[in-house]
């Protein structure tokens, strides 16, 4: 049974030039223990649908959906307070800019202990012990002293590890990672992706990975949703997607990868779409 089910999600923004549809009738579902990658380029609405689920969109957005359930509970019928309780405990997130996602005025230890105290009602000592344990789990060297560090004293990779530690602190059922490695170097990206996969496998949580990078998809996903201009183009198992992409857009994306270049020129998406006669 699916953990998160969204049916016919549409998100519209009011702008100066009239309403703009960022997400147009998208269905997504994630199973327990599954890694789902949502791939798309900028403007594909891949981040907007996540924010809609979390209820984090600004007032100018109108969100409609036929169904939005998490573990059998209807998200649409929930009060904001109920939704907030669910988010942060059972659904957690990590973001693209790890350093900017942490409050620069407090130590990382204080921030993670705050999460534990507020969400799990732990006392100070238990929270500290649990924070140490989490820091070890996400592979932060010298966890005891790093708990006292401020975000600006840590590297981007370490900050992302702290974010991950915070996100798994409550043993969530679903972790949403929005471009978790885009701001990081390749060698750090590798470490962070390996860590995410290891945690996913040991904790058995579901993972939604939002990315623009086909390489990241290839290294992590079980199933892939390809989005383009707010619509879903294709949904397939990762192997099938790379082996035999069905939609012309997916084929175009894969052939635009420089490592797949066959001749002197890279085929571009627009050429590809034109050649295939799509849109």
């Amino acid at each position: 049974m699916a953990l998160l089910t969204i049916k016919n999600l549409t998100v519209q923004f009011a702008t100066a030039t009239g309403p703009f549809t960022a997400v147009d009738g998208i269905d997504v579902s994630v199973d327990r223990e599954e890694v789902l990658a949502i791939v798309g380029e900028s403007g594909s609405g891949k981040s907007v649908s996540k924010l809609a689920v979390m209820g984090l969109l600004p007032d100018t957005a109108t969100v409609t959906a036929d169904e939005m359930t998490f573990d059998g509970r209807n998200l649409l019928a929930m009060t904001p307070a109920e939704r907030r309780r669910l988010i942060g405990r059972e659904i957690t997130m990590i973001f693209q800019e790890p350093i900017a996602s942490l409050n620069p005025s407090f130590t990382v230890g204080f921030q993670i202990e705050e999460v534990l105290r507020l969400n799990l009602g732990m006392d100070r000592r238990a929270a500290h012990a649990r924070a140490l344990e989490l820091f070890r789990a996400v592979g932060i060297p010298e966890p005891e002293s790093k708990l006292k560090a401020y975000p600006h004293q840590m590297s981007g990779g370490q900050c992302q590890r702290v974010m991950i530690a915070m996100a798994i602190a409550t043993n969530p059922r679903l972790l949403i990672a929005d471009e978790p490695t885009t701001a990081l170097d390749v060698t750090i990206q590798k470490q962070i992706l390996d860590l995410l996969m290891k945690l996913q496998e040991t904790h058995g949580m579901a993972l939604i990975l939002i990315t623009h990078d086909m390489g990241v998809v290839a290294e992590t996903a079980d199933r892939v949703v390809v989005q383009y201009k707010g619509r879903k183009m294709e949904e397939a198992d990762v192997l099938r997607l790379f082996e035999a992409p069905q939609h012309p857009y997916t084929r175009a994306l894969l052939s635009a990868l420089p490592e797949n270049a066959t001749g002197d020129r890279l085929p571009t998406v627009s050429e590809f779409m034109a050649a295939e006669g799509a849109e």
Partner: protein, 282 residues
């Protein structure tokens, strides 16, 4: 083959002023790098953040003066620290920046962006400047009616085309490209890489291409220079470096680059299935 740009033992030091608690110190960002690029070729400088690759790019683009070493452009030694750069030399070396959203002045119309280098470095009349700018706009795949628009009306890929057009206005021999495609979407990245390849062929341009993305480097480079913490750890032709990387850091970089081949994905999926099965059994 003539050599367009040559660097010998190029170093760059940054002075970090002391604060209330820290003492002032000097950080060496580039530690004596040698390189040469022949006419019409592409040298890719690969490295991660903090490797000094962008610092080196700014030196080659004649923006910052190096702290030490010699930089020669077409055999002529250039030291902007001691002598003001001549318009002639400025015209030879141009640069394209990483972020097309930051490298175009938001209050400058595209036409003015393109005409500015001509206005500052040549004595061409206004009508001629305009003609050349329009021709260049067409060359990079934009339309003449884009001439009077502002940068924010364009997509990232279009903006990078404008930035490339600006760099080409002075007919440079050397183009320094600082991560020109890393801020772009995959599909747009392909278009811009194609454009760069076409332009190189047409104008016999020499590229110094800064990148962190090995797959892009493999596609575009003739020679590769791998930098780590200010040092050039490996240097060679693309074939040599990719086929047989010598330095451990280069190997580490290769190992970390995601692979999108079907075989690797299949192997990973298999492995994962076993792990999950073991978890459920246990």
């Amino acid at each position: 083959m003539s050599i367009v740009v040559e660097g010998k033992a190029v170093t760059q030091d940054y002075h970090v002023p002391g604060g209330m608690f820290a003492r002032a110190r000097t950080v060496r960002a580039v530690k004596g790098v040698d390189f040469t690029v022949e006419k019409g070729k592409t040298l890719a400088i690969v490295g991660e953040s903090g490797s000094g690759k962008s610092t080196l790019a700014r030196i080659v683009a004649l923006i910052d003066a190096p702290s030490g070493g010699v930089l020669k452009i077409e055999g002529q030694e250039v030291d902007i620290g001691r002598k003001r750069l001549t318009s002639q030399m400025r015209s030879k070396v141009q640069m394209v920046f990483q972020n097309p959203y930051g490298s175009l002045n938001p209050r400058q119309k595209v036409g003015d962006v393109l005409m500015e280098p001509l206005q500052l470095n040549t004595s061409l009349p206004a009508s001629e400047r305009r003609e050349r700018a329009e021709a260049m706009l067409a060359k990079v795949g934009l339309a003449p009616e884009h001439f009077n628009r502002y940068p924010h009306m364009f997509s990232g890929g279009q903006r990078q085309r404008i930035a490339i057009a600006r760099a080409l206005m002075l007919n440079p021999t050397l183009l320094v490209l600082d991560e020109p495609v890393s801020a772009l979407d995959l599909s747009v990245q392909a278009q811009v890489l194609n454009l760069l390849a076409d332009l190189q062929e047409e104008f016999e341009l020499t590229y110094v291409f800064i990148s962190h993305d090995l797959s892009v480097v493999r596609y575009i480079a003739d020679d590769v220079l791998v930098m780590n913490q200010g040092e050039a750890v490996e240097q060679g032709t693309r074939e040599a470096v990719f086929a047989d990387p010598q330095h451990p850091y280069t190997r580490q970089l290769f190992a970390a680059t995601p692979i999108t081949s079907v075989e690797t994905i299949r192997a990973r999926v298999e492995r994962r299935r076993e792990i999950l099965a073991a978890r459920h059994a246990g």
